[in-house]
């Protein structure tokens, strides 16, 4: 770890390690495909995802409806495609919000220590204790329930992990030579935080973000179960699943396809995230001694 953050050599090293991890590469590929599908959904969807048609209720998958229809006669494939936009956005945005808050608070706690650290950690405790869905209930009733409020609340209630991580990184990094050197030279706190410490702490944050996306998607699905999710008629994977809850026996397609979509997305993000983490952490890279020993066996 050097002052100033990762350099070109390190990036190449990262790529070399990452590309050797087959699972992670698969994950990354799938994630890219998913993002493309989500962006191109309006062009790809064969039917209007929100238009009910009561003559076609719960029709099994067929050539005109590859994924069948839902209880209001809407095409499930189109709904899953459009739903990917919402589910993925929920993932990205809420994790982004959580990471931003977590970074700020964790950095403050780790760098300044003392009272600031105490206050932040007590705030973390408070947030961890608070029943999340209750907060969601209150917020979703106060404000007009919408995808933005859901993303914000998931973000607001999910920053604690990142904060802890960042704080821990700071605590370890602060004792390093280059920081003390910078301080003695008179560099301001903000400069130190942003130029030296944060870039090195990026690794766990990136990992946490990648792993947080599937968690956010699952949270949205869980919210739909409780009825607190995105408003109708807009489809999300969570609410298509939820609509299909009562028809598992006669309409397996309602739960299979969105379930598969969630599964594939969660799996891919997790694999990719873990791959990134493995490749970034120098302690995990095969040391030369270890490699020699391994080859010799």
């Amino acid at each position: 770890m050097a002052p100033g953050g990762p350099r070109r050599g390190e990036i190449r090293q990262f790529w070399r390690t990452f590309s050797r991890n087959q699972l992670a590469m698969c994950g990354g590929a799938v994630v890219t495909v998913l993002v493309f599908l989500a962006v191109l959904a309006p062009a790809l969807a064969p039917w209007d995802p929100n238009r009910p048609d009561t003559r076609k209720i719960l029709v099994a998958p067929s050539s005109s409806h590859w994924f069948g229809t839902d209880p209001l006669g809407r095409d499930v494939l189109s709904r899953v495609l459009y739903g990917s936009r919402i589910s993925l956005s929920v993932g990205f945005v809420s994790v982004g919000i959580a990471a931003a808050i977590g970074m700020l608070l964790g950095a403050a706690a780790g760098y300044y220590g003392g009272v600031v650290d105490n206050v932040v950690m007590r705030l973390v405790d408070l947030m961890l204790v608070f029943p999340r869905f209750f907060l969601l209930l209150a917020v979703l009733a106060f404000l007009k329930p919408s995808i933005w409020t859901i993303m914000t609340v998931i973000g607001l209630t999910g920053w604690m992990g990142v904060a802890r991580l960042v704080r821990a990184e700071f605590l370890t990094l602060r004792e390093r030579e280059f920081v003390i050197w910078s301080e003695s030279v008179g560099a301001g706190a903000l400069r130190i935080i942003f130029r030296h410490i944060l870039p090195n702490a990026i690794a766990p944050i990136l990992v946490a973000m990648t792993l947080g996306i599937p968690a956010a998607i699952l949270t949205e699905a869980g919210l739909s179960f409780l009825g607190l999710g995105v408003q109708p008629p807009y489809a999300t994977w969570g609410n298509i699943l939820n609509d299909g809850r009562d028809y598992i026996e006669i309409a397996w397609w309602l739960t299979l396809y969105p379930g598969l979509a969630i599964l594939i997305t969660v799996l891919s993000y997790n694999l990719m995230g873990e791959g990134i983490r493995d490749a970034l952490d120098p302690r995990l890279r095969q040391s030369r001694v270890g490699r020699i020993l391994r080859l010799g066996r």
Partner: protein
């Protein structure tokens, strides 16, 4: 490392459990063949599933359906409804009205006893009345009692009730739960009914006695051998609390429950048609006692114009709603009265599905698509946008909102949907009248008097006239209908009210959903009627050879 003693105990436990498993086998049996019928016999247990746990054991204090169902078996009232929805004697032997309809006198049966063997007398009736009107009693349904001027016990088995004005629903009021004076007097006076032992060990006069309540799990009742109409045949009733509709259905299929009070449309039509099910269960279908509606907020200036409301009515295809939401298992509604009852009339204005008529009416009212964007605007160019609101957790209302949204789009109205959690919905939107269009339901009631819903004096935040409807003629008719105890005088008033409501459309009446109960086929004595199948529950029985659970 676990100690050797602990390990041995664990092994013993596992062995014991394993042995028991081998000897016990599965807990429930598989569906039986339907055998020849047998004579009425006492015995067997009746298992019913309930989505919600009961709120308490004194139904006068609760408002949830479960506690009223259970309460209806533990407690009794002076009158009850028979299979044709008429009021017939229960704990009262007979009753008479004075000619001016201001005095109602009940003659009570002499053979009714509380479950603790104390006799039921007129004092209990008066006590119930006094408790219900007592401001310290947290009871939700007081309306009928508040109109009483005086209730007096003339002798041990006669009660005389006086009213200020004739009240059509007087007799019906006394069909509610009667409370035991000898047990609850002190609690009622102190206002601590909820903390009385009655709320955990209820004593009533009903066909079943309370045995136990495991909160969140089950309620168990046993037959009352001293019931004045004779002991009911089914010996035990168990309410199983199962908070998931999907699970209830699975339990039904696996014979874990004997009765479900209503299936969903899709369950009835598509999931219960296979041979094994038809052998093991009987399905019923009869018109229900509630209606679903699309309510306008008449305070909104856009809805003040009747033509706009009528346009909306033409834009909606009610049959599509019935097909989509109930799979056809409902009847179109054109008013708030219950079809098949004496006050109901079909002879009102109908609004057929016609987007052209809808658009024409909107245009007449000044709404045209002036800029070609698909949404109509008024003369100032303001587009017609609104939000359809309903409560969360109700799949039917959600689907209705989605279909209505689509239909409104076709006539140029842009609608959003908002599902709001019930408590917040009532408090933030319904009570302060901060809504535009809502999807809700109301009961049709057993008596056609709907004063509380349509009278202009009932528009306060805690009252039931949610749309804010006010019509002088309807007001007079409601008052007249209420103020008579002779049925044929009231008919005219109610027919006219339905006509006016259909013309004015403070809400669009959508449909009356059918009730779709399912009963296990081993139970005999079930016969459907206009009021449903539960009216003769005490006469249901299981022939001796087919009884599945012995009591005890």
């Amino acid at each position: 490392m676990p100690s050797r003693r602990a390990l041995r105990a664990l092994l013993a436990w596992t062995a014991g459990v394993g042995l028991a498993a081998a000897c016990n086998g599965p807990i429930e049996s598989r569906p039986d063949e339907v055998v020849a019928t047998g004579p009425p016999a006492y015995g067997d247990t009746f298992i019913q599933a309930s989505i919600g746990d009961i709120g308490g054991l004194i139904p006068s204090l609760t408002s949830d359906q479960s506690s009223h169902e259970v309460g209806g078996l533990i407690y009794d009232g002076l009158v009850k409804q028979d299979k044709d929805l008429n009021l017939v004697p229960a704990m009262a032997e007979s009753w008479t009205y004075s000619p001016n309809c201001l005095e109602l006198t009940f003659k009570l049966r002499r053979d009714v006893k509380w479950h603790d063997d104390y006799p039921f007398t007129a004092d209990d009736v008066v006590f119930t009345y006094e408790t219900m009107i007592n401001p310290k009693t947290p009871a939700p349904f007081k309306e009928g009692f508040l109109l009483v001027k005086e209730a007096k016990a003339l002798d041990k088995y006669t009660v005389r009730i006086r009213y200020d004005k004739p009240y059509a629903r007087a007799v019906e009021t006394w069909g509610t739960t009667m409370l035991p004076k000898h047990l609850l007097q002190s609690f009622a006076d102190a206002g601590t009914l909820r903390e009385s032992p009655q709320n955990s060990l209820p004593v009533g006069t009903g066909p079943y006695r309370f045995q136990e309540w495991k909160p969140g799990e089950k309620v168990v009742l046993v037959a009352n051998p001293d019931y004045y109409e004779g002991r009911p045949y089914l010996s035990r009733i168990v309410y199983r609390v199962i908070p998931s509709q999907a699970t209830i259905f699975l339990e039904l299929k696996a014979n874990g429950v004997d009765y479900v009070n209503t299936l969903t449309g899709i369950q009835y039509a598509r999931q219960t048609e296979y041979p094994a099910f038809r052998k093991a269960y009987r399905k019923f279908r009869y018109p229900g006692d509630n209606y679903t509606f699309l309510g306008f907020n008449l305070k909104d200036p856009r809805f003040a114009d009747k033509r706009v409301r009528q346009a909306f009515a033409h834009a909606i295809d009610k049959q599509e709603l019935i097909d989509g939401v109930r799979l056809g298992l409902a009847h179109e509604a054109n008013g708030p009265m219950r079809p098949g009852t004496w006050a109901y009339t079909e002879d009102v204005k109908h609004y057929e599905y016609s987007p052209e008529k809808a658009k024409a009416l909107l245009a007449e009212a000044g709404w045209k698509d002036r800029d070609g964007d698909g949404v109509v605007e008024d003369r100032d160019g303001k587009p017609f946008t609104l939000t359809i609101r309903t409560n969360q957790g109700n799949d039917e209302r959600k689907k209705i909102a989605e279909i209505v949204q689509q239909r409104l789009k076709e006539i140029g109205i842009q609608a959003d949907i908002q599902l709001i959690e019930w408590a917040a919905f009532i408090k933030e939107f319904i009570k302060p009248r901060r809504f535009e269009l809502v999807v809700l339901g109301l009961g049709t009631g057993s008596d056609p008097d709907q004063y509380v819903v349509w009278h202009s004096s009932q528009r306060g935040p805690d009252q039931m006239n949610r749309t804010g409807y006010a019509n002088d003629e309807v007001d007079h008719l409601l008052e007249a209908g209420r103020a008579s105890c002779v049925q044929k005088d009231r008919v005219r008033a109610y027919h006219r009210i339905q006509e006016i409501l259909a013309e004015d459309l403070p809400m669009i009446f959508l449909f009356n959903r059918d009730s779709l109960p399912v009963v296990t086929s081993r139970i005999r004595g079930v016969s459907p009627s206009p009021s449903g199948i539960l009216y003769n529950f005490n006469e249901w029985y299981v022939p001796k050879t087919q009884q599945r659970y012995t009591s005890g």
